[in-house]
Symmetry: C2
Subunit: 473 residues, 2 copies
């Protein structure tokens, strides 16, 4: 627990209305979208600007108080939820947009700005933003950079890292790294912004970002394709990547997951049942439809294709993909595991994962697979088992590692996957991460327990995150 | 000097034919392209693979021997040249290409592979590489990643950082970070590859890289445009960035620099004399010429435009830009300073830099400006003053800092610019760099003196780099 004197120090920084200690006030900030992870915060603090973030971290560092930076709470790996004794620093009030340079295609945003707000601002000025994901209205730019978020357009534009020109970051001791701001191509020393991206709040708190915008493409076509094998899907994606217009998205879904989302939406699937469904979108200066259909015809029989060229039609196809998490959630809180497989192992994985989970848990478990085919990124959703049954996580992640994949493809490690990090990272790699952590945050106050396994020598005790039912892990 | 026993240890790793101690054998490895920087190496070591690099660094770390990693020596800031007591580790023998995945658009290259070899391999398989620069036949992938090289296509594809999916890196203690290899979208822990990019060999030695390829665009048009002001050029670039096809390059040259390169090539300029010349290239699936000309006509009078649509024509225009360094070098060894300016300050800079240098040195100095307009990146070449006259560097870099620019835009800091780093980086930023350096290289054996100012407490003595005339700095 935090002493009243320290709470007074925090209150001096943000004022009483932005220091939340009452459990009712804190509740919103203590759970994430997964509904699987939650915890109790000693306090929730809502700074208004970079100076207040700096002052808060100075206090935390002096008193060695663990501190969990928080964006829109759309994470799924317990990286942004608190645990006993930690405070939450919510960045939601750092929500101002600008300045921008629309000749250069650059936009600055506070870390609390939503993805949707950035997308809208870009669109109003003749640009687009290179990242899109279903949580766009709630996910924040700061959180998305801290987790190096991916989403639907990675195949063309890369992850959040690729959209970042420069960051303003506050380090654990309260010192501010101002970054380069607008109009940057700056190689004057180490790029500290790039060091911080994807470290899930463990190396510094992001307070603002200068983002790179991408050119708006006037012609866009979406197609849902039914296929017998993922190998056919990969070959299709390979053709579209190199083809006219260029590939903007390549999602995939398994038969049983498509059944579920159609039931959830009360719709029938626009194409006949297939073992796999691949949703591809191409965009360019000219209509990419002909080139797309030509590529699709070599991969699928024609009556298994639905093509949408206008916005409502495209949205209707996308709904089948974007509503997938909600459709699955109706069956109960699922285990959600975000993993990556080498392209050649995707088929093996899809055939083996069900048996692996059933063997580890119970025959009642059910597996739903969907994800981003362009990157071999599979979202594994398991229902029919208790939400805190870690045998599921273990069975899936061990299989992934055996097939040469990675245990965290775009959702990060958080606290949820720390016990399995050693499966895919060598001791030298984990030691290097630990050295970087200690270099920038000697007291390990920033999100301790996330990403890197804690060891006894760390100044901050390895406080554990709790499941909903209070079982520590 | 290095003891014979230690040399024997090195020889046991690489064999006698790849341990060069004879001054005649070493000479090639002791000077860079600038001709301004050179030094004496205690030895030059040429490992054949990652295991040999690891073994060499283990020896260096144990004996605290400073070690300068070296690529193609096309650097211009003394980042890859040795100094007394240091050894050079040349990566030239790590020159194998592959494996590749041409459905995913990924290619792996050893750090000693030339840029041209990567470009050719990509092209043979229906792809392109996103970075291009005039030194393509000699510059190596490892060196380009270590310096986060830029070049002509940054405006579309970003710098080297944006092309890197994953790196294999050897740390100072000899431990190997294997990276993720092909087919990566991997957020399992800190992205150590991204930490190492652009740190100029001070945090680790890059031994291999998995590179992302870009889609080959079939239609390409180049235009040379004469303009009265850089503001008109920036407005043109802003239009082309958003226009049909998309902008691939936007270079600029000053009148006097164009005169010089035309004399050097024995050609006349294809358009009439202008205060500024802007070379733009657009590429796409369809012919971008109409959209380009429409944008150009709003920025320049028609008879000041030369358009090239075929390869020989485009090459002829590009020659005027690519031969610029050679044309200037005929006047003597120039001071070459690579700086960045906010777009709104480019004009101010171009008007003030001549007077600033003249005031600091002599009226005989002459300034040639050219560079990458899309990023506000200016290559300042100063002739007519002694090559070791640091008053030039000081005058230019102070002016850049006063105008809110950065002192190192794409060539890095090396050793040449360390004395001015404080102009653009705060004490907190430099301290953070120093902490990262100490975390990954506790004995400061990797390229000490490059990028970050050495301080007395560092285990490695601050051995200085020499100018050609032997004057330490």
């Amino acid at each position: 627990m935090i002493s009243p004197d320290v709470l007074t120090e925090f209150q001096d920084v943000v004022g009483s209305s932005h220091l939340l200690v009452d459990p009712g006030m804190r509740a919103t900030y203590e759970v994430d979208w997964s509904r699987r992870w939650s915890g109790d915060a000693a306090a929730v603090i809502r700074p208004a600007n970079v100076d207040e973030v700096s002052a808060i971290l100075s206090v935390c560092n002096r008193h060695k108080i663990a501190c969990v930076p928080q964006g829109g709470r759309t994470g799924l790996v317990a990286g942004g939820v608190p645990y006993d004794g930690a405070i939450v620093v919510s960045l939601e009030r750092l929500n101002s947009l600008g300045p921008a340079d629309y000749d250069a295609g650059q936009l600055t945003a506070g870390s609390g700005v939503s993805l949707a707000a950035v997308q809208e601002s870009a669109a109003r000025n003749g640009w687009e933003f290179g990242v899109d994901l279903a949580a766009r209205d709630i996910a924040t730019i700061g959180g998305m950079i801290a987790t190096n978020a991916g989403g639907m357009r990675v195949v063309r534009y890369g992850q959040m890292r690729a959209q970042v020109l420069s960051l303003e970051v506050v380090l654990a001791d309260g010192s501010v790294l101002p970054g380069s701001g607008l109009a940057v191509k700056d190689n004057a020393g180490y790029d500290l912004s790039q060091v911080v991206i994807g470290t899930e709040g463990t190396l510094g708190i992001i307070t603002a970002a200068t983002l790179k915008l991408v050119r708006a493409l006037p012609q866009r076509v979406t197609a849902l394709v039914g296929l017998d094998s993922l190998a056919a899907g990969l070959s299709l994606v390979g053709k579209l990547r190199r083809g006219s217009g260029g590939l903007d998205a390549a999602e995939f879904t398994q038969e049983r997951a498509m059944d579920l989302v159609c039931r959830h939406l009360g719709r029938s699937c626009p194409i006949r049942r297939s073992r796999w469904y691949v949703l591809v979108e191409c965009a360019g200066d000219t209509d990419p439809a002909d080139a797309m259909l030509q590529a699709i015809e070599t991969a699928a029989v024609p009556d298994e294709v639905a093509v949408a060229v206008d916005a409502p039609g495209r949205q209707s196809l996308w709904q089948l993909r974007e509503q997938m998490p909600e459709a699955i959630a109706r069956l109960g809180i699922p285990h959600k595991l975000d993993v990556g497989l080498p392209f050649g192992k995707l088929d093996d994985f899809s055939r083996q994962v069900g048996a692996a989970v059933t063997a580890a848990t119970s025959p009642a478990s059910e597996i739903f697979l969907f994800g981003h085919l362009g990157e071999g990124n599979v979202h594994v959703n398991v229902t029919g088992v208790s939400a805190d049954d870690e045998r599921v996580d273990d069975a899936v992640l061990q299989l992934v590692a055996r097939l040469g994949g990675n245990i965290a493809s775009e959702h990060g490690v958080g606290r949820a996957k720390v016990p399995w990090l050693h499966l895919v990272r060598t001791p030298a790699e984990i030691q290097a991460m630990r050295s970087l952590k200690t270099a920038l945050d000697p007291n390990w106050i920033l999100n301790p327990g996330a990403v890197i396994p804690l060891i006894d020598q760390h100044p901050i005790t390895a406080t554990v995150v709790s499941n909903d039912d209070g079982i520590g892990r």
